[in-house]
C-alpha cells in the first residue's frame, strides 16, 4: 500500500511539470501581451514594464525563473492587477470556491446516493424510471438556466434568499450557488449509483445473503459497498472541477471566487495569473485522482493486493 502511494506521488510530479511547461509556452504563443491596451503605451514605459517583469529575457530563462519561484510557493506578481501578487488574489478567492465546492459535492454525494438507493430499492417498475428521468433533466438543464430561475423564484418572488453577492460568506448567500453547483452532480451521481446498485443487487453474493434471510439493511450495505467504486471514480474528477470554482456560477451570483480568473487571466494575457490557475487546477486533479485511487484500494481488497504502479 505504501509502495502504491509513493509510486503514485512520484508519477504526479513529472505530470505536473509537463502540464506547466505546456501551459507556459502555449500562452506565450498566443498573440498579444499583458500590456496591450486600446491606447498604446509610451514605448519607453512599455520597455521598462517588460524589463521589471523580466519579460525581455529569453523565453527559456523566463520559464526557469518561473519554476524557481514556483518551487518556493510563489506564483509571482499579477500582470493585470498590478498591486497584487497572484498568491494574494488566490488567498482570498480560493477559500471561497473551495467552501462552495465542498458543500456542493457533499450535497451531491448525499442526495445522489439517496436518490440512487431509492430508485434501486423501489419495488415497482416506475421508481427507477423516475430517478433516471429526473437525473437526465438535471444533467441536460444548463447552469445558466437553473441559476436565474432560482434567483427569480427564491430571491425576487419569495424574497427569502439574496439573489447574489458573497456578503462575507453568510449562509443565506451560499444556498443558491451551492444548489446550482450541486444539481448536475446530484443527477450524475444518482444515475451512476442507481445503475451500479442494480448491478450489485443482481450479483450472486447478494443472492447468497437473501438465501440466508439476512435483514434488508445488511443486504443493502453489501450492495452499496459493491456499488461505490464507479461512483467514487467519477467523484474524484468532479470534485477537482467543482472545488476550483465555476466561471458561470460565480459570475451569475457575483461571487469573488477563482472562476473569474480563468477568463480574466486568459483574456488579459495575464501570464502569471493563467499559470497560477493552471497549476492550481492541475494539482487539484492530480490530488483527487490520488485520493480516488486510495479510496478504491481501501474499498476493494483485490485492488489493494494486485494494484501495481504504472
Amino acid at each position: 500500500m505504501l509502495r502504491f502511494f509513493l509510486a503514485r506521488v512520484a508519477m504526479a510530479v513529472p505530470t505536473l511539470l509537463i502540464i506547466i511547461a505546456l501551459a507556459f509556452f502555449l500562452m506565450r504563443l498566443a498573440p498579444g501581451g499583458p500590456f496591450d491596451s486600446a491606447r498604446a503605451l509610451d514605448p519607453e514605459i512599455a520597455k521598462n514594464l517588460r524589463h521589471i517583469y523580466k519579460l525581455d529575457r529569453p523565453l527559456l530563462e523566463q520559464f526557469w525563473f518561473y519554476l524557481q519561484s514556483l518551487a518556493h510557493g510563489d506564483f509571482g506578481p499579477s500582470l493585470h492587477w498590478r498591486d497584487f501578487t497572484v498568491n494574494q488574489l488566490f488567498a482570498t478567492a480560493l477559500p471561497i470556491s473551495v467552501a462552495l465546492g465542498t458543500k456542493a459535492m457533499l450535497l451531491a454525494v448525499l442526495a445522489g446516493t439517496a436518490l440512487g438507493l431509492g430508485g434501486a430499492m423501489s419495488k415497482s417498475q416506475i421508481g427507477p424510471r423516475i430517478v433516471d428521468g429526473a437525473a437526465l433533466f438535471g444533467i441536460v438543464l444548463p447552469v445558466f438556466v437553473v441559476a436565474p430561475l432560482l434567483q427569480l423564484g427564491f430571491g425576487l418572488t419569495l424574497h427569502i434568499l439574496p439573489v447574489g453577492g458573497w456578503n462575507d460568506g453568510a449562509w443565506q448567500n451560499q444556498i443558491l450557488p451551492v444548489i446550482t453547483l450541486a444539481l448536475p452532480q446530484i443527477a450524475i451521481v444518482a444515475r451512476l449509483m442507481q445503475a451500479a446498485l442494480r448491478d450489485a443487487l443482481a450479483m450472486p453474493h447478494i443472492r447468497t445473503l437473501r438465501a440466508f434471510g439476512m435483514p434488508g439493511f445488511h443486504i443493502y450495505g453489501h450492495a452499496l459497498r459493491a456499488a461505490f467504486p464507479p461512483v467514487v471514480s467519477y467523484l474524484g474528477l468532479a470534485a477537482a472541477n467543482v472545488l476550483t470554482g465555476s466561471v458561470i456560477v460565480e459570475t451569475i451570483f457575483g461571487i469573488p471566487g477563482m472562476g473569474r480568473y480563468f477568463v480574466d487571466g486568459a483574456l488579459g494575457r495575464d501570464y502569471t495569473l493563467v499559470m497560477g490557475t493552471v497549476v492550481v487546477v492541475a494539482a487539484a486533479v492530480l490530488l483527487f485522482n490520488l485520493i480516488v485511487d486510495l479510496v478504491l484500494a481501501w474499498l476493494d481488497p483485490r485492488v489493494r493486493y494486485e494494484s501495481r504502479p504504472g
Binding site: L209, G213, H222
Partner: protein, 530 residues
C-alpha cells in the same frame, strides 16, 4: 434412510413460469428428516429453478405457483419476515460458484460472523470464535488465519468449504446444495462430497443435492429424482435407480459417461517435439523484498505425432495450461521446441506468424473467450483476415457458413451474437474459429469442463471426427480423467510443473505407477467414472 421419518419439505405441483415459458411444470417431491435427496438433470432442466422458487429467491418477473410446505408451513405465502427467520437458521443453501457467491469485498470471518450475529444472535466476539470453529469443522487448515482472508485469496475448494461453514452456522434442518462441486477439480470435489456426507451425519440434517452428474450423486444420495424439461421423469431409491433405471432418459444419463476410445496405432511423422521446457514467472516482491521467481513448468519433454492426441492431466495449478502456451510460444520458455521439423527457438514474433495458422488454441470458457460484441461470422473468420487478407467479404461469409457446418452448427447462427448461443454451441463456434485456418496442431485447454456431460460427449465426438478428417494433432488439457481417457492416445500426468508419469492411455489407466496418478484415478472412480 428411514422411510417412516416425518416429511420435512414437501413440494406439491410447483410451477415456475417466465411469461409464457414454463421452467418448472407441476413438480412434486418430498424430503424427509435426515434424508439426502438428489435432483439430477441437465442444465436447463429446472433443477435450480425448483429450489430457488421454493425459497422465493427467483427474480421478480418469475411467477411461482403450487405449494411448498416446510414442517407444515406454507413458504410461498409466508410473510417475508417469517420466511427470513427460517432462511439461514433452519434452511441453508450452498451455491455452485464459490467465487461469486461470497462477497469479494469482505473477509471470510466477517461474512460467517454476520450470519452468526444476525441469525443466531451471537455477540461479535462470540461470533468470531464460533466462525473459527466452523471453518475448522469444514476442514480448513489454520482457521484462525483464514478468518482474515478475502475470498480471492482462497482456492476454489477452500471457498466452497467457507460457503459450507456459513451454511451450517446455525445447525439447519435442511441443507440445499446447488451443484456444490461442479466448479471444482475432481480431487477437490471428492473431498467436498466427503465433507458434506460427514456433516450431514454428524448434524443430522436433511439435504437436497442438485447435480447434473449421476456419478457424483451415486456417492451421496438416498433418493434420486431425475428431472427433464421442468418435470420429474423418475424418482426412487438411489440403489434402485442405478440398478434398474426405468425411464429412457435416466438410461441416457447413465450411459452418457465417456467411454474409452479405440486407439488406432499409426506410423505418423513427429509433428511436435519439445525438450526440457521450463517456464518461470517473476513475482514482484514488496517495497523492500527482492523479486522472487516462480517455476510454473520445469524440465518437461514430450513428443506428439501427427494425427494423435496427447492428454495432459493434473489438478489446476499443476502447470498444464502454461506448458501448452509455452509449446505454442505464447509465453517465453527455455528449452527446445520443434514443430514439423523446424526449430522454433530462434523465431521472433514476425517469423512465427506464418506458422501460427498451423497451431491453434481452443479455450475452456466458451463464455469468456468469444467477444460479446462480434457476430459469430466475424468471430469465426477473424483469423482469416490476418492470414488471408486478400479474401473478399463475401468469400469470408461463405467460409464462415462452411466452418459452422463442419462443427455441425446451423449456418444461420452466424448472424447471431455469442450470448444468444448455449454453452455447447459457443464451444463449437470456438472450435470452428480454430479449424477455419486448417491447423495441424490444436491445443484444447479444458474444452469440455464448463459443459454438461451430455454436451461434452457431443463435443468430444466432434473433435474426434475433425481429427480423423484432417489428420490433426491435439494437445488435450483436462483435469477430468474421464474426458482424457475417452479422447487421448497418450497421457502425461502433471504435478507442480513436472510430468510425473507419461505413457499410452491404456497403460496409465490400468497400471498407474505414481501415487499421484493413482489418487487422480481414484478421485475419478469415486465420482463414478473412468
Amino acid at each position: 434412510m428411514d422411510v417412516s421419518a416425518e416429511p420435512l419439505l414437501q413440494l406439491r405441483d410447483l410451477r415456475v413460469s417466465y411469461g409464457a415459458t414454463l421452467a418448472v411444470k407441476g413438480l412434486s417431491l418430498t424430503v424427509r428428516r435426515g434424508e439426502t435427496a438428489a435432483i439430477v438433470g441437465e442444465s436447463g432442466s429446472g433443477k435450480s429453478q425448483t429450489v430457488l422458487a421454493a425459497l422465493r429467491l427467483l427474480p421478480r418477473h418469475a411467477h411461482t405457483s403450487g405449494s411448498v410446505l416446510f414442517e407444515g408451513m406454507e413458504l410461498l405465502t409466508l410473510s417475508q419476515k417469517r420466511l427470513d427467520s427460517l432462511l439461514g437458521r433452519r434452511i441453508a443453501v450452498v451455491f455452485q460458484e464459490p467465487m461469486s457467491s461470497l462477497d469479494p469485498l469482505f473477509t471470510v470471518g466477517s461474512q460467517i460472523g454476520a450470519v452468526l450475529r444476525l441469525k443466531a444472535g451471537l455477540p461479535r466476539r462470540a461470533a468470531y470464535a464460533r466462525a473459527k470453529e466452523l471453518l475448522d469443522l469444514a476442514g480448513i487448515a489454520e482457521p484462525g488465519r483464514r478468518l482474515h482472508a478475502y475470498p480471492h485469496e482462497l482456492s476454489g475448494g477452500q471457498r466452497q468449504r467457507v460457503a459450507i461453514a456459513m451454511a451450517i452456522a446455525c445447525n439447519p434442518d435442511l441443507l440445499i446444495a446447488d451443484e456444490p462441486t461442479t466448479a471444482l477439480d475432481v480431487t477437490v470435489a471428492a473431498k467436498i462430497l466427503d465433507l458434506l456426507a460427514k456433516l450431514k451425519q454428524s448434524l443430522g440434517m436433511a439435504m437436497i443435492f442438485i447435480s447434473h452428474d449421476l456419478g457424483i450423486v451415486r456417492r451421496i444420495a438416498d433418493t434420486i429424482h431425475v428431472m427433464r424439461n421442468g418435470e420429474i421423469v423418475e424418482s426412487g431409491a438411489a440403489a434402485k435407480i442405478f440398478a434398474n433405471p426405468r425411464h429412457d432418459y435416466t438410461r441416457v444419463l447413465l450411459e452418457n459417461m465417456p467411454r474409452a476410445r479405440r486407439h488406432a496405432r499409426r506410423d505418423a511423422p513427429v509433428l511436435l517435439r519439445a525438450e526440457n521446457i521450463g517456464v518461470k514467472f517473476t513475482l514482484r516482491g514488496g517495497l523492500f523484498e527482492a523479486k522472487r521467481a516462480f517455476t510454473a513448468v520445469a524440465g518437461v519433454s514430450l513428443c506428439l505425432d501427427q494425427g494423435r492426441t496427447l492428454g495432459l492431466v493434473g489438478e489446476s495449478g499443476s502447470g498444464k495450461s502454461t506448458l501448452a502456451r509455452a509449446l505454442l510460444k505464447l509465453v517465453p520458455a527455455s528449452g527446445r521446441i520443434s514443430f514439423d521439423g523446424r526449430d522454433l527457438a530462434g523465431l521472433d514474433r514476425a517469423a512465427m506468424r506464418p506458422l501460427r495458422r498451423s497451431m491453434q488454441l481452443v479455450f475452456q470458457d466458451p463464455y469468456g473467450s468469444l467477444s460479446p460484441c462480434m457476430r459469430v461470422s466475424d468471430i469465426v473468420t477473424e483469423g482469416l483476415r490476418v492470414h488471408d487478407p486478400a479474401i473478399s467479404r463475401k468469400q469470408r461469409d461463405t467460409r464462415a457458413a462452411l466452418a459452422l457446418e463442419e462443427v455441425l452448427l446451423d449456418p444461420e447462427l452466424r448472424q447471431r451474437f455469442p450470448q444468444e448461443l448455449s454453452g455447447g454451441q459457443r464451444q463449437r463456434v470456438a472450435i470452428a474459429r480454430a479449424m477455419i485456418l486448417k491447423p495441424r496442431l490444436v491445443v484444447l485447454d479444458e474444452p469440455t469442463s464448463a459443459l454438461d456431460r451430455t454436451v461434452q460427449i457431443g463435443i468430444l465426438a466432434l473433435l474426434e471426427d475433425l481429427q480423423d478428417a484432417h489428420g490433426l494433432a491435439y494437445v488435450l488439457i483436462s483435469h477430468d480423467l474421464a474426458v482424457i481417457r475417452a479422447a487421448a492416445d497418450e497421457i502425461a500426468v502433471m504435478k507442480d510443473g513436472r510430468i510425473v508419469e507419461q505413457g499410452p492411455t491404456q497403460d496409465i489407466v490400468e497400471r498407474p505407477r505414481e501415487p499421484y496418478t493413482r489418487s487422480l484415478l481414484a478421485a475419478a472412480l469415486q465420482t463414478g467414472e473412468a
